[in-house]
Symmetry: C2
Subunit: 259 residues, 2 copies
Amino acid sequence: MSLTGKRAIVFAENLYNELELWYPVLRLRGAGVKVDIAGTGSASTYTSKIGMPVEVSTSADKVQIAQVDALIIPGGYAPDYLRRYPAVLGLVRDALAQGKVVAAICHAGWVLASAGVLRGRTVTSVAAIKDDMTNAGATWVDREVVQDGTLITSRQPADLPAFCDAILGALGGVEATSLSRVTAATSAIEALRMAVQAEESAFRFYSAAVDKVKDPEAKNVFASLAKEEERHRKIVQDEYNRLTQDPTWDRYSIWRDVI
Amino acid sequence: MSLTGKRAIVFAENLYNELELWYPVLRLRGAGVKVDIAGTGSASTYTSKIGMPVEVSTSADKVQIAQVDALIIPGGYAPDYLRRYPAVLGLVRDALAQGKVVAAICHAGWVLASAGVLRGRTVTSVAAIKDDMTNAGATWVDREVVQDGTLITSRQPADLPAFCDAILGALGGVEATSLSRVTAATSAIEALRMAVQAEESAFRFYSAAVDKVKDPEAKNVFASLAKEEERHRKIVQDEYNRLTQDPTWDRYSIWRDVI
């Protein structure tokens, strides 16, 4: 999967949680996303709970939401500062209204509460702020990651792999590295949706590889693979369409025309 | 990709670099690898350069190399301690001798130097210890990740996505999330090798998903996809075999029997 062209903002303020800020930054950059770290405007460098510095490249009031695909809010006690800034809250509201990804982990739920975007939403957070979440109108559940529309929430640093899988998935890729999105309750429709995303991301990966390599034979190999993945995507998409439109769907029909 | 069943050891000692320890731990766990954090036996908890604690689950003298697929050595100044322990150095030597993955980032090259495994190897590291690497017999290059056999090295925290992609790739999966392994110099043979790994990892992912879901239709969907990926793997593997055995290989033959 390559998410080249996608842009994300990760918010920073003092007392941020080190892993909850840096893991998403590195993970998204590794997937090709352009990540900017935005402060509140109060400083150009912030320090984490145990003193790790982070230099910001912009501030909330300078971010143009139209140019951003995802907002990520790390935890720690930084959300206690972030929620005081109207520019931060405005970005969160605008992002959700425009169907963009908003991802919050741990104490970052506070920012969602102050932005007034929790009514009717299902979310998770660190257990300590569960009452603040429910008082703001949310349904709170205890899961490593909860995705409600484009709103993605997690509880703690150990949830970061699933949290970032969900963010990357919502940005249009799928993380084939993690089985965390497959649960006992996964339906055939969800399985096909995952497969469509996987084939799309494989297609984008091989297409981008064609441009990267110089060797003509390598270009041909990647181009053949891209074409094949595109063909796959269509087969799985057709199957998905059939299943979602016809309740008498023949469960054995996948690949029938291929094998 | 699911690497369920694979096991990795990440070494810890005082003054470890926070991101270089925790990013691989979380990333590998997210991919299904069982990760143990091993100390030198000097303590049960170590603290990072800026005071982040890590509790270890074992120590180097208790690790059975036969039960481990990868050793990962984070940087910071922890390697200055790790290199003093014969059990650590023995594990590094045994792992490489048995074809297992050894991955070192930043100052972790010191441990490789003391283990005496660098002669004739191509590696990278933080620039500060370049002389120690070359004096130990290595060829030193300045790249985000260098893979020489099963020895994987990187320079700094910003290289962590590529470093972990390479580790996961060497463990038998491929990270479709990163294009960092595709370069202008990638050959057709390398492209096919990546494709074989990608198809294998997709096969493992769908196979593991079959076991995870309860819904019979979802099981059928994942089983069909697994079967298809296995068929793909064979096609690409045949192509790889043909190319590596026959220099007059027809570059357009991939998928010829399929499309």
